[in-house]
Symmetry: C2
Subunit: 134 residues, 2 copies
């Protein structure tokens, strides 16, 4: 674990740290990416999982609209730019070792490219997976 | 995207696929790992983010207790084995391209090694991050 996050872990609730410092201490992987979990700000559903590079993260924070890094297209992916399915950022968090982002968002339209509400529509049920949002 | 997941994406709700087939089509990265989001089955809070290899995933499904792969220790990490903070699996999902696992769990004690309820206790608030579970 990065020592900076270790250092602050016993701080009390309400302790503040400059965002620029925390963002600078985040761990990006060998491809320069950090995983991002997008959660529905209203009902807590996990909508999708994607990746950001530094630029995508800074753009997301600056604009309040989710911008990811597309690993397949190797470019910034402004979610909604082609589909109209924009995501508005409500809350951004990182975890105890600063290597994951949790974004609470509100979703215009569908998070999933299949037009389903959430990408996580395959649920294990006994010896099968079943297609099910619930 | 893996073509198998593409193939099944227009299937109707309730369509079933053998779990062994779906598990065999999941994408593990170049280190043999798949990301896992652990969500509180009751209140929807995101508790932690970790990784599984094939063995950890199969053990989790077989036992109903969360088993991850510890990237730092390079070994299976049976969550709770040393801390007593076991995680019981309630529901397991994968996403539209089969490269992430979502596990809805019930948590004994604390998910985070800091003894906080969730690892995501750093919330962006204006120009700061603030330590806050809420």
């Amino acid at each position: 674990m990065k020592s900076w996050f270790k250092q602050i872990e016993s701080s009390e609730d309400g302790t503040r740290f400059a965002a620029a410092k925390v963002l600078g201490e985040l761990t990006f992987d060998h491809q320069g990416l950090i995983p991002v979990v997008a959660q529905d700000a209203e009902n807590g559903d996990i909508l999708m999982f994607a990746w950001m590079n530094q630029d995508a993260l800074h753009e997301t924070i600056a604009t309040g609209r989710m911008c990811y890094w597309s690993r397949s297209r190797k470019s910034l992916w402004r979610k909604g730019e082609t589909s109209g399915h924009w995501q508005t950022l409500h809350e951004l968090r990182t975890d105890c070792d600063g290597d994951v982002i949790l974004a609470k968002i509100s979703q215009e339209g569908a998070a999933c490219h299949t037009l389903r509400h959430s990408c996580f529509y395959l649920r294990l049920d006994g010896d099968d997976f079943v297609i099910s949002q619930k």
